[in-house]
């Protein structure tokens, strides 16, 4: 993740949408929708690793 991530991910994010977006084909629909759902799922992965660190 570190070597693949150019933008330092903000809290709540593991892989930034801006970096992932570059690897996606042209988006014809609502990019904000793609971004929002991507980030929602990112939050779950983020919760996983930080909860392992803090709680378990």
């Amino acid at each position: 993740m570190t070597e693949n991530t150019k933008n330092k991910p903000a809290p709540g994010i593991c892989l930034s949408w801006e970096d992932v977006r570059k690897e996606l084909p042209n988006i014809q629909g609502d990019e904000e929708l793609f971004k929002r759902i991507w980030n929602d799922n990112e939050a779950l992965a983020y919760m996983y690793i930080w909860q392992v660190l803090l709680s378990f």
Partner: protein, 379 residues
């Protein structure tokens, strides 16, 4: 919790393996099967009629840690006896989970560091970067993620059950730890970190600062949306003599205070679960906004703490665990009377033991604490 005077003194015991003892379970059962831990907590809350508890204070569900393959727990019934509480095993100084030259890597991207470097070291299943993945690696993430979701989702119904069956509310919501403690507990280890404080203090400081926004984020995302119960802050080794005053003033506190202030700006209180002795640092805590924290007393003198900060913050705990484990109910009542007379006289006090209660606590002494506080702790 807002340092006001209620109708009566709230009873909010942080009961962990005590619940297993009371409900007839082993430590292995409540640690490895969280449904039994939930059941034991509900049974205690109902029978003792407590005002608030942690829905499961045997918080580390070892079914989850086993799915991930975490190496650092001594699991009841496997690594330690069936009726011994789970143990955290800190790595030796020469085999820490984070190496001394990795501070900059951690500071550059804490989340990436945790996934790529730390997790493969603490899990026996997760493969280090660059090595072929295995089925154990893949299953660790799949089972670990699903198990965590299953566990966390179960807290909602558990909290609802406590409310319905006994009118007991959840004592805390969310989790917070200080950046320094994260480094000491799970990354460098205490011994490694204390050496780093002398050899590379700047790197330690930058790593703590890099952790700050993440620890704030985790605290806020787990907090009570109704802002009624505090975020639990587990304080481990930021006090003297684990570190000296200079290290507290220059590192621990400056990387902690802004987070507490930001949490308060969001409308959440923080429960300072001050494990150990923090008397030397109470002046620093007095810098925080009035009512922003609840200060839990462990080994400090609860009477002295009250005199020092009771005008500004609600206080909880301070009933020694040894008293509850090994003394008589009469002595428990005597000490509770003194605390109620001197600390709780104007409100701003929550009845609880000093430390998390495991299975050495005597049931008759918990009955004495509860019944005496109910009878005598009325305003």
């Amino acid at each position: 919790m807002r340092n006001e005077k209620p109708d009566r003194i709230p009873i909010r015991p942080f009961v962990a393996e005590f619940t297993a003892k009371y409900a007839g379970y082993t430590c292995q059962e409540v640690t490895h099967d969280y449904t039994k831990a939930f059941e034991a907590a509900c049974r205690c809350a109902a029978d003792f009629d407590w005002d608030a508890i942690v829905p499961n204070m045997v918080y580390v569900w070892t079914g989850l840690t086993q799915a991930i393959g975490l190496k650092y727990y001594g699991v009841p019934g496997m690594d330690v006896p069936v009726n011994t509480g789970f143990q955290y095993r800190e790595p030796p100084e020469d085999n820490a989970y984070m190496k001394e030259d990795e501070y900059d890597l951690l500071a550059a991207d804490p989340t990436g560091y945790l996934f790529n470097v730390w997790l493969p070291r603490v899990s026996k299943y997760v493969c280090p970067q660059g090595q072929p993945v295995t089925i154990q690696n893949n299953l660790s993430f799949l089972k670990g993620g699903m198990a965590m979701l299953s566990y966390f989702t179960a807290f909602g119904p558990q909290i609802q059950r406590l409310r319905e069956e006994s009118g007991t509310v959840s004592a805390i919501a969310g989790i917070f730890k200080a950046p320094f403690d994260i480094l000491a507990d799970k990354l460098r280890g205490y011994l490694g970190l204390t050496m780093d404080l002398f050899e590379r203090p700047g790197q330690v400081r930058r790593a703590c600062e890099a952790l700050m926004p993440h620890l704030l984020h985790v605290a806020l995302t787990g907090a009570d949306p109704l802002k009624q119960v505090p975020i639990g802050f587990w304080m481990h080794r930021g006090c003297t003599p684990f570190i000296n005053m200079k290290q507290f003033d220059n590192l621990y506190w400056p990387t902690l205070k802004p987070i507490i202030e930001e949490i308060w700006r969001h409308g959440h209180q923080v429960l300072f679960y001050a494990e150990g002795r923090w008397m030397a640092h109470l002046d620093s805590f007095l810098e925080l906004p009035e009512g922003s924290i609840v200060f839990h007393v462990d080994q400090d003198d609860v009477f002295k703490v009250h005199k020092k900060i009771g005008h500004k913050f609600c206080i909880s705990g301070g009933i020694p665990n040894y008293l509850l484990a090994y003394e008589t109910p009469e002595n428990v009542r005597k000490f509770c009377r003194k605390v109620i007379d001197e600390v709780a006289v104007d409100g701003g006090y929550i009845m609880d033991a000093s430390a998390i209660m495991q299975n050495e606590i005597a049931i008759e002494n918990m009955k004495a604490l509860t019944e005496f506080t109910r009878d005598y702790g009325v305003y």
